[in-house]
Every structure is written in structure tokens, then in C-alpha cells.
Amino acid sequence: MRTILALATVSLGLLLAAAPLRAHHSFSATYDGNKPITLRGTIVKMGWQNPHAHLYVDVKNADGKVVTWEVESAGPTTLMKQGLRKEDFVGAEVIIKGFLAKDGTPTVNASSFTLVEAKKEFVSDEKTP
């Protein structure tokens, strides 16, 4: 009985650990460091999860078409340490500096983003603002 309980505990632990591990990928596997990009748009949704917070931002192209971008940023803890609160987000105008995804989708890894009205910059690596 003890063995079964121990096995069940280990299995549950592995299952719980698997989800964040799967989400925590290396930059170079997903994003193209040769394609830096700066975007300006409006935040329409916020994914406040670990290990990376995700912003969803409406960006208007030169032709007027609006594209919703998924922006991977630092984790919520890192952002909160820099003064960001969940309620700061939706509807705010933002400037994002980052790198395009390799798969050609409107996805970007943000090295930093700036809330325009608040004039506050948030960086993914908090030691190098």
C-alpha cells in the first residue's frame, strides 16, 4: 500500500511539473533573433500565467487592417516587481520591442514593453532596464 501511495505521489508530482516545463522553452527554439520588431497597439487581453505572461495586442498595419498579436513577456512575478498590476492592462496603449516568431504567426517575444500613457517601461530581464 505504501509503495502504491509513493508511486502515485511521484507520478502526480511529475505531471504537475510537466506543464510549466513544456511552456518554458528556449528563446532560439521559437523566436528569430535576426528579426527584431517594434509594435505599437492596444492591449485587448492579458494572460497572467507562469512562466511567461502573455499580452494580446491589437496592432493596425499600414493598410489599416488590425491584427491581434500574441506577446510573450516575463513572468507575472517579474512584472509585478516592476510595479505592474493586472488591472493596468486592458485598453492601454503599448509599445513592444521584441523578436518575431519563427513560424511566421503574429507572435513576438518582448524584451521590453512600455505603457504609453503611464510612460513606464517593463523589461523581461529586470536586471537590465
Binding site: 528579426k35 527584431p36 503574429p106
Partner: protein, 163 residues
């Protein structure tokens, strides 16, 4: 006698010019590997602000400088710049076009380049300026990235000479 004096004068002048040229001209030839300890964290971490190659193989002659840049999980990219500042095409990954020009400025090498590619937001044009300064077995590269409508950002990486 007068001819000998003139010949000697010309030879001395040419020799002096050659020495001055050799002394004043920086040489970046060598294989340089990025130092994580000496570079700022945002150029080597998981969320780079500006990406730098992990290794640079440089060959410099009197008229040009060729650079093979190796980055993580990418095939090496090579470029040969004329040191007179004329514009050249630079090898870039698929889907990217890049031109660049290089010029020696005192003890530094200045490389400016323009990169273009398409994105879901439309065509993107990004300008880069790199200032290279070598000090013994250490190479410092200061790189500035500018995109139209954006404020420039600058990062510094330090490379150690391995050969």
C-alpha cells in the same frame, strides 16, 4: 649625389608612411568568442534586447574585412566589407535582405547595416550600427538598433580572442 639624396628622401618618406599606417591601423583579425561574464545580461540571456553572434571569425586586409558570424542554432553568416565604406550585400537568413558598409574610424571599426523583412505587421526595416574596439585579446562591440518610428536601443558585448 643630388639623385641619391632625392632617392633617399623618397624612400624615407615612404617608409615613415608605412610605419605610421601599421601603427595607427587597428587589426581585428582573429577568432572571437562572446564572454557571458563580461557582456551585459540582456545580450546573452533568454530574452535578448539585441542579438549578438556567439562567435566572430575575422580576416582583415588592407582593403577589406571579412566576418563569419556564428549564432546559436543558426548556420554561420558571412560578410565581406570594403574598408572604403562602399555598400555591399550581406549574407542573411532566408527571408531577410541586408546591406552594409564598414569604415575604420581611428582605433574603431564602424559597421552600419540595413535589414529588411516582411512580417504580419507589414514590411520591417531595421538599421544597425556596430562600433568595434579591440584592446589586446578583448573585442568590444557596441550595437545600436533603430527601427522607423522607434527610439534607438544600444547594447554592448565583449568577446575574448581564442586564436
Amino acid at each position: 649625389m643630388q639623385r641619391v639624396t632625392i632617392a633617399l628622401g623618397v624612400a624615407l618618406a615612404l617608409g615613415a608612411q608605412t610605419v605610421a599606417f601599421a601603427q595607427g591601423r587597428p587589426d581585428f583579425t582573429g577568432t572571437w568568442r562572446i564572454s557571458q561574464a563580461k557582456s551585459s545580461r540582456s545580450v546573452v540571456g533568454n530574452t535578448p534586447d539585441i542579438q549578438f553572434p556567439s562567435q566572430l571569425e575575422v580576416k582583415q586586409t588592407a582593403s577589406d574585412i571579412s566576418v563569419i558570424a556564428t549564432s546559436v542554432r543558426q548556420r554561420p553568416l558571412s560578410a565581406t566589407y570594403k574598408l572604403d565604406g562602399s555598400k555591399v550585400d550581406v549574407q542573411a537568413p532566408e527571408g531577410i535582405t541586408e546591406t552594409g558598409q564598414a569604415v575604420l574610424n581611428g582605433s574603431s571599426l564602424v559597421i552600419t547595416s540595413r535589414r529588411s523583412f516582411s512580417s504580419p505587421a507589414g514590411d520591417v526595416v531595421v538599421d544597425f550600427k556596430e562600433v568595434w574596439t579591440a584592446n589586446g585579446n578583448e573585442l568590444t562591440v557596441e550595437k545600436t538598433r533603430t527601427q522607423v518610428g522607434d527610439t534607438p536601443s544600444t547594447q554592448k558585448a565583449v568577446y575574448d580572442k581564442t586564436s
